[in-house]
Symmetry: C2
Subunit: 440 residues, 2 copies
Amino acid sequence: MSVTNRSEIRVGILGAGTVGHGILNLLRDNAKTVEARLGAPIHVRRVVARDRAKSRDSMIPAERLSFDPAEVIADPEIDIVVEVMGGLEPAHTLIRQAIEAGKHVVTANKALIAEHGDALIELAEKKGVDLYFEAAVAGGIPILRVLREALASDRVVSLSGIVNGTSNYILSRMQSGNVEFADALREAQEKGYAEADPTLDVGGGDAAQKLTILATLAYGARLVPKDVHTVGIDAVGAVDMRFADRFGYVIKPIAVAKRAHAGQLDLRVHPALVAKTHPLATVNGALNVIYLEGAMLGPCIISGLGAGALPTAMSVVSDIMDVARNLMVGAHSRVPVRAYQGTSLEVQPVQPIGELRARHYLRVPVRDLPGVLAQVAGALGKHGVSIEQMVQDQKLPGTDATSIVLLTHEAKDAEVRSALEELTKLETVLERPRVLRIEE
Amino acid sequence: MSVTNRSEIRVGILGAGTVGHGILNLLRDNAKTVEARLGAPIHVRRVVARDRAKSRDSMIPAERLSFDPAEVIADPEIDIVVEVMGGLEPAHTLIRQAIEAGKHVVTANKALIAEHGDALIELAEKKGVDLYFEAAVAGGIPILRVLREALASDRVVSLSGIVNGTSNYILSRMQSGNVEFADALREAQEKGYAEADPTLDVGGGDAAQKLTILATLAYGARLVPKDVHTVGIDAVGAVDMRFADRFGYVIKPIAVAKRAHAGQLDLRVHPALVAKTHPLATVNGALNVIYLEGAMLGPCIISGLGAGALPTAMSVVSDIMDVARNLMVGAHSRVPVRAYQGTSLEVQPVQPIGELRARHYLRVPVRDLPGVLAQVAGALGKHGVSIEQMVQDQKLPGTDATSIVLLTHEAKDAEVRSALEELTKLETVLERPRVLRIEE
């Protein structure tokens, strides 16, 4: 089989959901552009749907629709298998089978690459096929390609961003509309930005999966999502938005992967106060943003839509074209991702979260009695946490309950947690204080 | 000569200035990373300097320093020629000779690619070698790679940005420091952001060259810098900054390449009012930013340092690595740039600037007499230009001179120019009015 001058690139798609349809739409609307640039058309030989009962629209002609993934994996005519089913299984097994069968694979499966990317990349290199997954992180934003190719000659020293559009939408709404978390979540669900079960988004799990993939490429570290310290945004109150604003900050759902001292990686996903002048502060709504710092490049910011059928489909098809170019020149594994992943670079341990040094925001619900501030300051000071600035809220009507809201100087995370335990035990403290990190 | 499993990639560098030294610095500092990722080290066999008299620092060992470009071009051991001399000649002739000699070429030469890129790319494809030029546009920002590969499957519908850091620094300083153009320029020169002869930067010529390259890749159009309507920033006054602010705008040095009606391209470089909430409004200092809109991708923003030895060197070395990967797998012209350039896509004419429809800012210096506003409004109305909002400035002390400052509704550029001629002839108008476009 000649590898050059192909008359067409033959693709099989596993998954006929939103992204699958986005791919078919894109290949129809941009067919001329894609063919001109690639030098060959992309032909979708088969689309495998999961649910036989669900009616299919006219995008998929009956003769190309299948319900059996083996019809793609075993088809010798198919060059590239595109996996857009999502979820760990059966996607994982099918991708392994496809690679074993010598197929190149393009996937948008974030959870799968975050958990098993390393082993799959190893298998793909062993079998001499390409495995591309740009669409697995931040939808249409080409961040993996930028890390893998544009920054190939550089070392990343810091990466942070907002990589979950649902969380960003919710916090943006809480801020601009002065509404509570539950109301902002309901609104996000009504607008289609949040799933019926929003746990993975608002709990930070989705962002942790994306950060795992980003940090793997950026630092050549072998990581899985459970290496990422993860805190959801559901603990943020509208009142915290207002206090953050008074101090000159907004609250954003951030993901961070930085080089820490001693070769360790600082990896975390949580809501944080960021100064209004910070590059992440002005990225609102469902947008994603990634802030990179390269040793040579310096700062670089990329933002755009992190989700949606068409941006995601765009990334998938650009990956198909990249793989097709390798096919057409008889090259595979042209950019050996494993060379980024610790085989010859140092392996980097993750910094324990207790070691993280940061300034903190604390909101302490207290009884408004003489001496309460001294008690709070004393409890903090005992654990080495000092106060940078402080405001006291108005009393709740008809009660003596109020809140002391303060920003600390830089302190170790473990010290702040100990101080928090101490504070919670005080009689004048009415509830467990709310604590948020400040990202500089 | 086997093309795979190279023991090293051999490079010759034409140019021993700032960028040339940046490349040598990067290859020394990031040697381990580059070799691990590429699978072979990059060896600089020769550096060609222009000026024999200038002393060379220790970065270039005497045995590798040369003053004769032929020692690079004729060296059969050199795989890739890197051109970082700048200027049209002798760079143009040398690059042609290198391509003719079968060398792959990486260049950072913006002026050359903007003027002769099309013919050079054609020659490179004919000779079966690669010609890469990421560093020619916006320093370390990987915008060409994003257009060429990440958006390979998409059609760009709009591209705009700030691509001249010197102009952005000057206008940012005029705004934040309330200083005049001449003072901000002097400051930029003192800080090394502006050349002794700043004409190419502040006159818009540099931005027009970059826009030419960007628009060529984004739209598949064959363009040269003189296709770009170009206005410098030197006509902007500190007073215009203050009025723009009152109306909710900032003034930015923008470059625009949009699809206009009838398949035409709207191509222009000029200072413009942009709303404070516009994505370009918050990018200050010497930063560059590019705002893209893809038919499928939607909006995407990339920003970073558009100049500087290390960011530029980073782009050059990532290009070298990309070319080296093609070499190592025996593939060249893997991404055929000419397929983006009109060979099979439609050729797009440039929209005459007079046809552009935009809102405008006008500052009209007038004598403060009864009826002057009616005269101004009448002159505008006669040419079909209507006023959206207006303020009258305070009188200059001890005179009856003042300014009427207004924003127009959308009008054709040609109509605004005619109205301007009419206004200038009025007896009550003291000077030629200042006009700036508003970018939505």
